[in-house]
């Protein structure tokens, strides 16, 4: 090891300096800078001096509350109802705008609501768009990580058999990975269009029963459509990582299980799966990190719409930090994103630790 070598500070520093100083300046410094900026009111270009504002940016982002609203009643105390017989509620803005009795809700907007009996429970937040972006990001991670992980393993198992020409299939499955996500997103925009390819294919496969829809134009399907495309693009990447994990399992183990007369499932359960532990952890963490970083697809395909149904944390960070030049607001979202990624990586590591 290096410790046995003579200490050579001059050579050591000279060789390491260019790389390490660039890495420090462009990765480590901005990383800590993000925490600092998120506590200020820094803008990209501003005539005013930067001020320290404490946790104001986080308060604006994270303030959220439940507002219980009782139905409106007439003078006799009878609940007023609309034409469908549903109770009428006062508008949320009567609580959140200039209402001295409800100061804690000042400036908040409705995020969503549900009903408990006749009382409406309204979730109000200062920054509803941020909460939407948080929800969408988490939804994306929760859907994409397990599905992509499982599909990648399935493909890896499929490719890991001895067949002539199997490498051709491996090369094809991997192909979308080398194509830019921007290209893929534009291409799929066309596939997802109302008169696009996907609707024609689905129509043909169902003998015309399937009615075409505008996949990216509806809040119900837009995020799902982006999830499906993202899985399509990146599944080959994780297939290859699974594959290299599969190939570390000694062939003798398979020999033994075959001699012992194990079924395919048993072989997978008791030979393959235990051998894939470390790969499984790695793939899960990598997919999760990549999923949290969702940006290009959104920027190219939907711009966060329709109705904020596809906006994400990174998209909001860029939207504010770059488009609106609000560096501090963008930095605060970046810090929240980093803490989320870190927490989830640590939880994943903890759950999959050696027992």
């Amino acid at each position: 090891m290096a410790s046995k070598l003579v200490t050579s500070n001059r050579a050591g520093w000279t060789f390491a300096f260019p790389g390490v100083s660039l890495l420090t300046l462009f990765i480590v410094v901005p990383f800590f800078f993000a925490f600092f900026l998120s506590l200020t009111n820094q803008r990209l270009i501003s005539p005013n001096p930067t001020e320290f504002v404490g946790l104001d940016n986080y308060r604006d982002l994270l303030s959220i509350s439940v507002l219980s609203i009782e139905p409106e009643v007439d003078d006799a105390g009878v609940v007023l109802r609309d034409a469908d017989g549903n109770p009428k509620y006062p508008r949320v803005r009567t609580f959140t705008r200039n209402n001295p009795d409800y100061k804690q809700y000042a400036g908040m907007r409705e995020w969503f609501r549900w009903h408990s009996g006749e009382t409406a429970k309204v979730i109000v937040a200062t920054d509803v768009v941020f909460w939407n972006s948080l929800r969408n990001t988490l939804m994306f991670v929760v859907v994409v990580a397990p599905i992509q992980d499982a599909l990648a393993l399935g493909l890896a198992l499929l490719i890991n058999q001895r067949l002539r020409g199997i490498n051709v299939y491996r090369a094809i499955y991997f192909m979308p990975v080398v194509v830019s996500i921007v290209v893929v997103s534009l291409l799929w925009r066309f596939l997802y269009a109302e008169d696009g390819l996907l609707n024609s294919i689905l129509g043909a496969l169902s003998f015309g029963l399937f009615e075409g829809r505008d996949w990216l134009g509806s809040p119900d399907t837009a995020l799902g459509a982006i999830e499906a495309m993202s899985i399509w693009q990146a599944v080959g990447f994780h297939m290859v990582i699974w594959l290299s994990g599969l190939q570390t399992i000694p062939p003798t183990l398979y020999e033994v299980s075959r001699i012992e007369g194990a079924s395919k499932w048993q072989t997978f359960r008791y030979v393959t799966w235990p051998g894939l532990r470390n790969t499984a952890i790695l793939v899960l963490i990598v997919i999760t990190m990549q999923a949290f970083a969702l940006f290009a697809q959104i920027d190219v395909m939907t711009n966060g719409g329709p109705l904020d149904s596809t906006t994400t944390l990174v998209f909001q960070a860029v939207e504010r930090g770059y488009a609106k030049q609000d560096i501090s607001g963008g930095s605060a979202i970046s810090v929240i994103l980093f803490l989320l990624v870190l927490t989830i990586s640590l939880v994943q590591r903890y759950l999959t630790r050696e027992k």
Binding site: A2, S8, N9, G12, W13, F15, A16, P18, G19, L22, L23, T24, F26, I27, V28, P30, F31, A34, L37, Q42, L44, L155, I166, R170, A171, I172, Y173, F174, M175, P176, V177, V178, I181, V182, V183, V184, L186, L187, F190, L191, G196, L197, S200, I241, S244, T279, V283, F292, A293, A296, D299, V314, V318, Y322, I327, S334, V335, L337, F338, V341
Partner: protein, 292 residues
């Protein structure tokens, strides 16, 4: 497998290949569609989407879309920018990261371990979380150019290159590889009086073909396909790379066939490159899996 009759065996093979091929179709159909559509006029392109013709080179084929794409936007400039930025970054990254890794593995110096752990810790920082503070940083950085001291790196080549030269993963890949090189070789050269630079140049790097290929391919993919960073630091057409140029081009409302031509031009060379070096590409992705 003596129990399996030849017929049975053949049937199983057919089933296997059918499954493999059907899955393969899922992965290639959008790309085939892209290339085929790039040769078709819009009217036909839209009509063809309702049938199999969408995937076939049939009908009125021409290179018109390509001509129109190149005249509508400075596509050639975008391509040059991407190739220039990607090429230079890959080269500088290989040099600086391998030098740092060499120092971490073969040399003993104060601060070595602390710095190495900092380098490895950066692996958990997604770029997306530092993009905004980095934007502010580069907008203020000084630079000494032809016209003397200037402030701010926005709208330049350097802002697309310099921040991307050193990264934790590339250094890590070199460190892992160097650790497995025979120590005796280094010590023998040292005894013979070779300088550290000579050992790096003449002994270590010539042995590092595989890791150089891996690091170069990974960096190439990251750089060529980059979107978020150039999107926020480059607003001038003259410095735009292809992916950001694409977004800008799309806003000019070109015909779909033209878009497909643009997509084909910037994608097919990479795909060809990939198909030729397929094993190296896949091996390089697989080697990122070592970091668990």
């Amino acid at each position: 497998m003596a129990a399996i009759t030849p017929d049975n065996h053949r049937l199983r093979l057919i089933v296997r290949y059918t499954i493999l091929t059907l899955i393969a179709l899922i992965f290639v159909f959008p790309l085939v569609f892209m290339v085929m559509s790039s040769f078709k006029p819009d009217l036909q392109l839209l009509r063809d989407t309702s049938s199999f013709r969408a995937f076939l080179p049939v009908g009125d084929l021409s290179l018109d879309n390509y001509r129109d794409a190149f005249t509508r936007a400075p596509v050639a400039t975008f391509i040059f920018n991407s190739v220039f930025v990607t090429g230079l970054t890959v080269l500088l990254s290989l040099l600086f990261c391998s030098l740092a890794a060499f120092s971490f593995v073969f040399l003993n110096w104060t601060g070595r371990e602390v710095l190495l752990s900092i380098v490895l810790a950066t692996l958990i920082i997604p770029f997306e979380t530092i993009a905004i503070p980095l934007l502010l940083l580069v907008s203020q950085l000084p630079w000494i150019g032809w016209e003397g001291l200037e402030l701010g790196w926005l709208n330049t080549y350097r802002v697309q290159i310099i921040p991307w030269i050193a990264d934790g993963l590339t250094i890590f890949l070199f460190v892992q590889f160097f650790k497995d090189l025979p120590r005796d070789l280094i010590e023998a050269s040292r005894v013979e009086g070779a300088s550290w630079w000579q050992i790096y140049r003449r002994v270590v790097m010539p042995l590092s073909g595989p890791v150089i290929a891996t690091a170069a391919i990974l960096k190439f993919l990251v750089m060529y396909n980059q979107y978020l960073w150039p999107l926020i630091v480059v607003q001038q057409e003259t410095y735009r790379p292809v992916m950001v140029g694409l977004g800008y081009y799309f806003q000019l409302n070109p015909a779909w066939g033209e878009i497909m031509a643009y997509l084909t031009v910037i994608t097919v060379p990479v795909l060809a490159f990939y198909l030729v070096l397929q094993r190296a590409f896949i091996a390089s992705i697989a080697s990122t899996g070592v970091k668990g």
